[in-house]
């Protein structure tokens, strides 16, 4: 199997065993089979994954609450479709990290490539570094908090959820956005079609501060600007319903 029980850790009253999975020995299929709990229960367990080496599709499709810590840079679609689990990547992540996240948290200590959190429906994605293009594309309820900056076409067709950027945002932010909320502390290179700056009241600031704290990023919510949909595109005009 290539998976082995490591030394036990005492966490409060409960003794939790850390299971280490070395990808050079186990390979990606064995890892995912184990983390998906297909052979034995995984709820409440802790895992450390070593020798990631940029491999794709690590820790995907998890359905139980557990801690997974991946050491090193990961490839595409890491922690995709995750439900309940908390996954930490100690390094950078490739395309589509936490795509279609349902719940739980995914934290990346480095940078991410394009389409981070794509189509995510829930849960929290924290990127401590920066994210490149198309961060939060078609997000549907996920919260994404980025410590650094994001690239162009981020939150394209974003439908629900929140995208928080402590640095700058690239061109065409929030193009064709629906109901998602975007918060940017730094400069926005340009806004996409139908995306506009919106007022930020006390309730918005409080909610954002709570989200920043949950993400573990020290930033003052009062320094952010809020963006969202102007609701002027074709789909928002009730008159167009008559065409069908």
């Amino acid at each position: 199997m290539g998976t082995g029980a490591g030394q036990g850790l005492f966490l409060g009253w409960q003794r939790v065993t850390v299971e280490t999975i070395d990808l050079d020995v186990a390979g990606v299929r064995v890892l995912n089979r184990r983390l998906q709990g297909r052979d034995e229960p995984v709820a409440g367990r802790r895992f450390v994954v070593t020798n990631a080496k940029g491999r794709h599709a690590l820790a995907v499709g998890l359905t139980e609450a557990m801690d997974v810590r991946i050491r090193g840079h990961v490839g595409y679609y890491c922690a995709g479709m995750n439900r309940k689990a908390d996954v930490i990547v100690e390094g950078n992540a490739g395309t589509g990290v936490a795509e279609n996240l349902m719940s739980g948290t995914v934290r990346v200590t480095g940078d991410t490539s394009q389409s981070a959190g794509a189509s995510g429906r829930g849960g929290l994605l924290v990127i401590e570094g920066s994210a490149s293009a198309r961060c939060g594309i078609t997000m549907k309820g996920i919260d994404i908090v980025v410590g650094g900056s994001i690239g162009h076409m981020s939150a394209f067709m974003a439908q629900a959820g929140r995208l928080v950027v402590c640095g700058d945002a690239g061109a065409y932010l929030g193009d064709s956005i629906y109901e998602a909320e975007l918060f940017v502390r730094g400069r926005v290179e340009s806004l996409g079609a139908d995306c506009v700056e919106k007022d930020m009241d006390e309730r918005d600031t409080e909610a954002l501060q709570a989200l920043l704290e949950r993400a573990g990023l020290a930033a003052d919510a009062g320094e952010f600007r809020r963006y969202g949909s102007a609701r002027q595109l074709y789909n928002f005009r009730v008159d167009n319903a008559a065409a069908y």
């Binding site: 080496k53 794709h56 490839g75 950078n92 490739g94 480095g110 490539s113 490149s132 162009h152």
Partner: protein
């Protein structure tokens, strides 16, 4: 799809091991491009005055010593040929352009894959590791290499359609992506600027375009920046030069690229897993190149 990789060794002590460090990078990119592979190696043994031209014969068992002797007699300089699989490197103390022109005129059955004084280009159809083994890459020494694993989309799977493409003396190009205006640009370069093309490949058009720009006096960086305007399509380019290499992604940046650097080397690849085998990579700085920005190492700008 295609995979591209580049490795430049800053630390001269590593240069005898260039091929051994480079081979697994190419191997990791097999899934991105399993139909053919090619690579450019920069190694300067004879100095700048010695011309080095790499040629490829589709027919097996080519008489390379005979070709060297004939070239020597025609050009009035001693020429030697060193064979590697179906390629050979011809060396002579003449101008590289002269040697290339002579081969192309006298031996149309051969294709010239590179010319210059440091550059050699080898390419063939087959799985990347098989292609590398055929040319004995793991034994190669040098300062830098760039390579390509191909999944063909715009033209046939042939040796000539494999990358890298030579773009002038000691210059070459590898490409992940596809260009959409290559037909008209090829016609314009051929008819208006006299650029020669060997294939229907879109990347060869980008190579011809860079050759033309550089011939007009542009630096590599200037030629690539002009390419952002004139080349329509998706691309991550890696350009090899005598001194190092440059990387450019198109402004939309659908095609991936990742770079890494430490005190000993600088490397680029389509995916990080191709860099994971490099020594001390976990402590190296690793980042994704920004769209529409030219990155250069080793004085190649």
């Amino acid at each position: 799809m295609c995979g591209i990789v580049g490795l430049y060794l800053k630390n001269p002590a590593l240069r005898p091991h260039l091929g051994r460090l480079f081979s697994p990078m190419m191997g990791e990119m097999t899934e991105r491009g399993p139909d053919s592979a090619g690579f450019a190696v920069y190694r300067e043994e004879g100095g700048r005055d010695e011309a080095k031209v790499t040629v490829c014969s589709v027919a097996p068992g080519y008489d390379w010593p005979g070709l060297a002797q004939e070239a020597g007699e025609a050009l009035g300089a001693e020429a030697v040929a060193e064979a590697a699989s179906n390629h050979a490197v011809l060396r002579a103390s003449v101008d590289a352009g002269k040697l290339r022109d002579w081969i192309e005129a006298a031996h149309p059955e051969l294709s010239v894959t590179s010319s210059g004084s440091a550059l050699e280009i080898y390419k063939d159809v087959g799985l990347p590791m098989d292609v590398l083994d055929r040319f004995g890459v793991s034994q190669m020494a040098g300062s830098h290499m760039i390579g390509h694993t191909r999944m063909a989309t715009e033209s046939a799977v042939t040796t000539a359609g494999a990358h890298p493409f030579n773009t002038g003396d000691d210059l070459c190009l590898v490409h992940n992506g596809s260009l959409s205006n290559h037909h008209r640009l090829r016609d314009w370069l051929r008819e208006q600027q006299g650029v020669r093309f060997q294939t229907d490949n879109d990347t060869e058009v980008a190579a011809g375009y860079l050759t033309w720009r550089i011939g007009e006096g542009a630096s590599i960086a200037e030629a690539l920046e002009a390419g952002i305007r004139d080349l329509d399509g998706f691309y991550t380019f890696a350009v090899g030069t005598r001194e190092g290499f440059s990387v450019l992604r198109d402004p939309i940046a659908c095609k991936p690229a990742v770079m890494a650097e430490n005190d000993d080397w600088v490397a680029m690849a389509s995916e990080f897993r191709a860099l994971a085998c490099l020594p001390d990579v976990e402590a190296a700085s690793v980042w994704e190149p920004e769209p529409g920005k030219v990155y250069s190492w080793g004085g190649s700008a």
